[in-house]
Subunit: 347 residues, 2 copies
Amino acid sequence: MSNATPSRPTSRDVARRAGVSQATVSLVLRERWRGRVSPARAAAVREAVRELGYRPNLAARTLRLGRGRTALVVVPALTNEFFARMHAGAVRVAAEHDVGVVLYSPPTGIGRAADPFASAGATLDGVLASSMAAEALAALSGDGMPLVMLDSEPGDGAAATVNPDIATGMRLVVRHLLDLGHRRFAHIAADVPSWTFGVRARVLADELATVPGARLVTTERAPIDVTGGLLAAERALADAHRPTALVCDDDLQAAGACKAARRLGIRIPDDLSVTGFDDLAVATAVEPELTTVSLPAEELGAAGMRALLAALAGERGGTTVLPVTLTPRGSTAPPPPAGGRTNAPAP
Amino acid sequence: MSNATPSRPTSRDVARRAGVSQATVSLVLRERWRGRVSPARAAAVREAVRELGYRPNLAARTLRLGRGRTALVVVPALTNEFFARMHAGAVRVAAEHDVGVVLYSPPTGIGRAADPFASAGATLDGVLASSMAAEALAALSGDGMPLVMLDSEPGDGAAATVNPDIATGMRLVVRHLLDLGHRRFAHIAADVPSWTFGVRARVLADELATVPGARLVTTERAPIDVTGGLLAAERALADAHRPTALVCDDDLQAAGACKAARRLGIRIPDDLSVTGFDDLAVATAVEPELTTVSLPAEELGAAGMRALLAALAGERGGTTVLPVTLTPRGSTAPPPPAGGRTNAPAP
DNA sequence: CAGCGGGCGTTATACGTAAAACTTCCTGGG
DNA sequence: CCCAGGAAGTTTTACGTATAACGCCCGCTG
């Protein structure tokens, strides 16, 4: 177990053991030996590799090849379940292709974009970035490093973009509520600038504009957490012309909104309908369960990584849009009878 | 934008530009120039570095030095909020010390431990592993790679171990319930083998044993999610001799348990007390909010990374235990008056 | 004045791998 | 019989960095 040399075996050690030259070992291991090395020797090399437990030194390989097999994944916040799931999908695909993943999560929002590249530097082959601002692109595209954007504004700098069909998701939510009879809406919006939230706000407004009498009473910006949703809902419901439907940008906010309503004695879904977004674990943890939009988070990350691998291989991909579905649950229902009026006549 | 040579500048390019040799550049950049390079030349080198936007090639540096500045972090499942927060803490500390982080999350539970080392190989300097089985140690300790365990059984193979004070956490939960008057308990336990869950079960049993009349009616194993907790609670509450307190290993399970109870017409906390563990976001999303144990997840990851950095520097650390706190909320209360009897008299 | 040590720099080499360039041997066709 | 050409290897070199080993020059001292 403990030899004189506890250091890792090199390809030269393998060569010595197999009785061949180091070059031959390299040829065999790189599967470049068709018509270059006899099958018998190749087998001997592989046997020696097995016996010594040899693993190629990645630093040396990367140095020699000019590129490694490592992708940088940038996510704003891993503690957000959606990003975590996206990341899991990306890591899974990367692992399948024997590509390592280095994670970068900006300490304070989307800020200093140069840092991760300084630390992971030349060993990186590509970048998979989620929900990032455009200025971060500049630092990268100049380096000729393939960049795939996830959940972001499709732009020129990226080799490819993979997005969930947010527009359709929000459209389904609004239609669902309109079909139930709702006309007075409030939007609890995420307080961070991001493509996905921009789309949600725009589609919400657009859809309401197509229905006479329907209107957006108020938009409240809030952090993406339970407390944020709670406080925002309190503000939204304080309005005399109270909305009957609360459209939230996130399930956590929706859960908070439900708490706020209950504290005000407003029943869900009888008096107020609430919708979330993303279909996180919390959506089925609360009561009533949240009507929400299910996003294929894992598949999004997986597709993003596949696009990045394709880009590394030279292919140039466009924008991929993944389908989303509306998942109706218990937090939405027709508005109360007086839903159309301000002062409700008692039945 | 597009030069003849789009490739990264090397230290030789910097040397040429500054009118010095490549060795001098290296000396300046490594801060090894005290009495070796004149301040004027050093400044010139730094100027050239700035102008060219030079970044050292990490692969070459790693190859030369025999070690890099990269740590492997192994977590069972990033989509678990607790692990995500732990990981965030570890990444933060690593970034502060200019150390890169490679993430490995086993595709299927805690399984093949050799894989990540194959893919990240020789460039790794140390490993920070969470909730891993002991056999994974073997593959590593032999390589002489420092290993720090998080949230795991303190063992010999690791350079250091950092754990939350799970025993105290569970003790606080049980005392809290006992003080409220509960005597019939059920345990909804995580169905994965892990140090932390073993401790919880043991402490729960031990504490109940110290109080005459107190007993554990049943232990139900369940996956760590809402549905798992829901189904387990249904089983636990089907018992004729129904428990008055449900101790869950995780907040998600506790949330599911609350749903199950409500479906059975059991009020929380009036008829049944439920406790969670970890203090995840869901704990305050549900109603009533969950009484739970707050674990310092970020700090755990941060302390683990600090221990790993210390180990890389040659220091040998022991076991660090981080304090936890009980966070009482609305899901616990004294048992109903008939709590001691099986057939409750209708009031 | 010769020697010599210290400040300032350069040249040369090693890390482990990949692959181009080269050598050797063998077979078959003209 | 001789040579083209391919199979089967080996030798050599390059990747970019860090540092050991080596000069050179200047001022100081015996």
